[in-house]
């Protein structure tokens, strides 16, 4: 609400990064954004605290940490980030507020007899990116968790390397705290920091690679079926691969100096966020839709959504990267016709409209299928997870008695493997 109100009282013209001095001189709209960030930040801190405590202490009997659904590991890693890093943006925006209202010189320099007795604008960038880089992993980690969750179901095979996948989520979260400086390669900070941040940033590729190989290993030799959620899962892997491969190019200081603030960054970011968040989000919507509504979505429309969106996305994100390499800069609406990127821009725009249209298809699908879709039954995907062992939609009382975990979560296709959960088995 305060974020929307901000637009009415002057908005914020610095973009979402709030770099001073612009954010110190702008309208009161900035203050509204700060308030909204405080409110959202508080709620995400408390929410992550709740999730961590729930995961650590409130698991059902028999569910050891390494028997949790893999999505819970992703949520745990995400919550660690939200619990801690969020405080940094809180302090950062609090100090910005103080400097705006009281004139406390934290970010604006103040020269007295040739000595700076005031603040440093770069301090904002450090505080801001210490939060905001881990924050993108808050998007991506649950998405990657959904990929790992869905692939075994549609491959009818155990998740390959469960423990490594679980720990790689934690590793991504922790390494994410060491890489904020790669947003600042061109900011003019001490040059030796560039090397450290380059190496730490390249390290992110290691746990991410673990996940990629686990996905390939899970599918390898499996009996794959391709309903819409599986298509979107595979789509996320393909798109996230584009984002992943363009990452080290930007992490390497020498190449980043040329590509900084170009459309190459825009293309990279779209590919990681669509591959790591938006595509898995759609996969999750289609996957859990029958559990939520009790009815099946329209499979044909779902496939149309996928086959329109995915190629269009490849065109858009690779197109953004290529016009970026040719000199298109971020944050500006027009460009020099002499750059020779007009055709590329046209393709990007058309692809963007195709993506938007495909999402309209999904929205129509979700609303109409809730009324007319065929009744899905309790477990249309033959999943082993506990939520599929009860009726769809989920009844008020999930289980008549506490459940007990007696098997492994992803033992698909293994003969003689016990069920994942049993209801009311044994005494506590």
């Amino acid at each position: 609400m305060t974020l929307l109100l901000s637009a009415l009282v002057g908005g914020w013209d610095s973009g979402w990064t709030m770099y001073p001095p612009l954010s110190l001189q702008g309208s009161v709209g900035y203050q509204f954004v700060f308030w909204s960030v405080f409110a959202i930040g508080l709620s995400s801190i408390l929410g992550s605290l709740n999730l961590i405590a729930t995961i650590l202490l409130m698991r059902p009997k028999g569910m050891s940490m390494f028997r949790m659904p893999i999505f819970c590991w992703a949520v745990l890693a995400t919550s660690i980030i939200q619990l801690t890093a969020t405080q940094f943006i809180g302090i950062d925006f609090l100090l910005l507020s103080f400097e705006r209202s009281l004139g406390m010189p934290i970010f604006n320099p103040m020269m007295v007899e040739g000595v700076n007795m005031g603040g440093e604008p770069l301090l904002h960038q450090h505080l801001f990116w210490f939060y905001s880089h881990p924050a993108v992993y808050v998007f991506v980690l649950p998405g990657l968790g959904i990929i790992s969750e869905l692939l075994p179901v549609f491959s009818r095979k155990p998740l390959f390397g469960y423990r490594w996948v679980a720990l790689s989520s934690i590793a991504i979260a922790l390494v994410g705290f060491l890489v904020w400086g790669h947003h600042m390669f061109t900011s003019g900070y001490q040059p030796y920091l560039r090397v450290a941040f380059m190496i730490s940033t390249l390290l992110v590729a290691v746990p991410t690679g673990v996940k990629f190989f686990s996905w390939l290993g899970t599918m390898w030799g499996g009996r794959l079926t391709f309903p819409t959620p599986m298509l979107f899962t595979l789509g996320s892997i393909s798109v996230f691969l584009i984002g992943g491969l363009s990452g080290p190019v930007l992490a390497t200081t020498t190449t980043d100096l040329f590509l900084h603030d170009t459309y190459f960054v825009v293309g990279h970011f779209h590919a990681t966020i669509f591959g790591g968040f938006v595509f898995p989000f759609f996969a999750a919507i289609y996957f859990w839709y029958p559990k939520i509504t009790g009815r099946m979505y329209n499979e044909a429309l779902g496939k149309w959504h996928f086959w329109l969106m995915t190629p269009a996305f490849w065109v858009m994100s690779i197109g953004q990267m290529s016009v970026g390499v040719m000199g298109m800069r971020r944050h500006i609406a027009d460009y020099d016709a002499g750059l020779g990127i007009a055709t590329g821009q046209l393709w990007i725009t058309l692809a963007g409209f195709v993506i938007a249209f495909s999402i309209l298809l999904m929205i129509y699908n979700l609303f109409s299928s809730a009324e007319v879709g065929r009744v899905a039954g309790a477990n249309p995907w033959k999943s082993r997870s506990p939520e599929w062992q009860i009726a769809s939609p989920v009844p008020d009382i999930s289980y008549p008695a506490p459940i007990r975990v007696v098997g492994e979560p992803y033992d698909y296709g293994l003969l003689g493997s016990p069920n994942y959960v049993a209801v009311g088995a044994g005494d506590d």
Partner: protein
Amino acid sequence: MAASTTPMKAAGHAGAHDDAHAPTETYAERLRLNRLGMWLFFISEAFLFGALLAARFYLWGDTRPDLDQVVGLIVTSVLLLSSASMYIADTAAEHGQWRVFSVAAWITMILGLVFLFGVMIFEWGLFPSIYKAHLTPWDSKYGAVVFAMTGMHAFHVITGIALIFIMWNLARKRRFTPERHWGVEASAIYWHYVDVVWIFFYPALYLIGSVVHLTGH
């Protein structure tokens, strides 16, 4: 699916709001959760204060303002003493010695207020008739950081005192027993935590770096 008729886990906890379907927790389970939640909150807060420390070291480096060392030593000692009295209060609650608890809680609150007024009078100069402080929040990065750090810490001291007062009042109404006094325990560890933060803030503000004498004022 076959509905099992296994009865829910019998719990000895007769909560005020019994949900018919939620498995009720025992007090011990709830206590474990509460303790974990409290420590997660502290981890989160460590980053809040850590961000302020980061700002201090980024802006000041190896310099510091010319703060009154005697004042710093006294307020720090007062705060450390208050942790000792809070420990006595917490231990008394564990043993059901509610008179001792009450006295120790009041000593803690008074010491906390002494710390708070020490900061407000001598560091912030809120009462120039008593003491003229030379730092202001807006004249230099030194004043700005001192006020930001001590302000955030003082805010926590105030909430700590409020918590202890609430717990004292609840104890007066006999709401706690030696077995069940999570509120007392929580306010005690919160108070110790605020104390520990000051142990990091005190050297960062008063001890580390060479003194810069500010001109004017």
